[in-house]
């Protein structure tokens, strides 16, 4: 067997890479969801100063390349603040923040999608802002945001491949290493692409199922 041949162990490596990709995706999605949601709620309560600050950060995160953000965190922050930074930690921070910025946009539009008249009715009956958020806005906003959120997460899963550039051993990095060794880019990237495709498809299917359940009571199902 020559050095450049594929071996069964390559499958183990690909599986490990896929595992790292999915782990980073799930962790950064969870963190991004918590932060994006918190930002949206702060905005709902019209907290002075906090809302413009959040808007500024979220605009920066949405309108600059993730790769640049990654370099800034991995190379820039350690030099400036004299701290150690591992590739996985830098990747987690960057992707969490980036996901949070987009989830914030979805949360804001989902909250605004709920009709003012219902909110006024609930307020007139004495419900507090928090009770309105919990009982009136949240159930409808979650149903509204399921679609956009699924689309975002499918995209963010692909975006994780950028972290291979700073040396995280994710699926794309394993693919790159495998390609360097075997010099069969067509085979390697087809397999890697297929693995991303399957993972993304699972995310999309899960999202569609959740959305269907959340909208179960909506009578209108389109024309």
């Amino acid at each position: 067997m020559r050095y450049a041949d594929f071996t069964p162990y390559d499958l183990v490596l690909l599986a490990q890479g896929l595992g790292v990709t999915l782990w980073v995706f799930l962790v950064t999605t969870a963190i991004g969801l918590v932060i994006g949601l918190a930002w949206g709620i702060i905005r709902f309560y019209r907290v002075p100063l906090a809302t413009p600050a959040i808007d500024f950060v979220s605009e920066f995160l949405k309108n600059s390349p993730v790769l640049v953000q990654l370099f800034l965190v991995y190379f820039g922050v350690p030099g400036l603040m004299h701290v150690d930074m591992t590739p996985v930690f830098a990747a987690t921070i960057t992707l969490s923040a980036n996901t949070a910025a987009f989830i914030y946009v979805i949360v804001v539009s989902a909250i605004e999608s709920v009709g003012r008249d219902q909110i006024e009715a609930a307020r007139a009956f004495g419900l507090s802002r928090w009770q309105v958020l919990r009982h009136i806005i949240a159930p409808q906003a979650i149903a509204f945001s399921a679609g956009p959120l699924t689309a975002l997460l499918v995209n963010q899963l692909q975006v994780t491949s950028l972290i291979s550039v700073i040396g995280v051993m994710d699926l794309a990095k394993i693919g790159a290493n495998l390609n360097l060794r075997t010099l069969k880019p067509f085979v390697v990237w087809t397999v890697v692409g297929a693995l991303y495709y399957v993972a993304a498809k699972l995310v999309a299917l899960a999202g569609a199922r959740i959305e269907a359940r959340l909208r179960a009571h909506a009578v209108f199902r389109g024309l």
Binding site: Q118, L127, H217, V219
Partner: protein, 244 residues
């Protein structure tokens, strides 16, 4: 007592309420008449605290709606029925009714649900308890809206053009219920264009014109030649409405 004193409300340069005063005593049915844009709905929205006042005071049983701490108490004493129903679309008819009593009055769910079922049955919707608003007709939705307000056992029922979005058949469904409530002694502030109905059920009629309250008369007096009809604007309004 529900007291409106010298209330001023402006949206930008447009003054919608211009020094309105009104008192509603328990047991009274007071109808507010006036053309579109005269400030009727805004007055209701000021009483239930949806709009903030630019001047004057509103108190509901001595609780001032302009003071955040007292507004919560004031809101427990008034229940609003809205022109466009404003039901919660993600909740069943029963949940629409029980939400505020459970969350605001902190009453036990089982008790509130039993009352909610009885209320729906009393307006002929016993079979619609678990149905969502989208599956109800306009008249049915407004009957749920009335039940939702009644479930709070309000001292004052505020009705903001509750039949304006309904066809004549559905309107009569809703008016029958309001007539019954009036007979039972429910205190109501009733904004409407249903003049004949208002004449039957109200004790007093007030007339708003460009944000000013120009008359406040007992019903019989309002419709008499020397009372309301002696005022040119009222006579003009009534004759227009009767032609329509």
């Amino acid at each position: 007592m529900l007291k409106v004193e010298n209330v001023v409300k402006a949206f930008g340069s447009l003054t919608v309420l211009d020094g309105v005063s009104l008192a509603v005593h328990p047991g009274e049915v007071v109808t507010i008449l006036g053309s579109s844009g005269s400030g009727k709905s805004t007055l209701i929205r000021c009483i239930n605290g949806i709009e903030t006042l630019d001047g004057g005071h509103i108190t509901v049983d001595d609780f001032d709606v302009s003071k955040p701490r007292e507004l919560a108490e004031a809101r427990k004493r008034s229940g609003t029925v809205f022109q466009l129903f404003n039901l919660y679309p993600h909740m069943t008819a029963l949940s629409n009714i029980t939400l505020a009593p459970i969350e605001v009055l902190k009453r036990p769910r089982a008790e509130v649900e039993a009352e909610g079922r009885a209320l729906l049955a009393s307006v002929g919707l016993a079979d619609k308890i678990d149905v969502y608003p989208a599956q109800l007709s306009g008249g049915q939705r407004q009957r749920v809206g009335i039940c939702r307000a009644l479930a709070m056992k309000p001292r004052y029922l505020l009705l903001d053009e509750v039949t304006s979005a309904l066809d004549p058949e559905m309107t009569s469904e809703v008016l029958d219920i309001l007539a019954k409530l009036a007979r039972e002694g429910t205190t109501m502030v009733f904004v409407t264009h249903e003049i004949e109905f208002a004449r039957r059920i109200s004790h007093r009629i007030v007339f708003l014109e460009k944000g000013k309250l120009i008359t406040d008369l007992a019903t019989a007096e309002f419709f008499s030649a020397e009372g309301g009809l002696a005022l040119p604007r009222v006579a003009q309004f009534l004759s227009k409405m009767q032609k329509a």
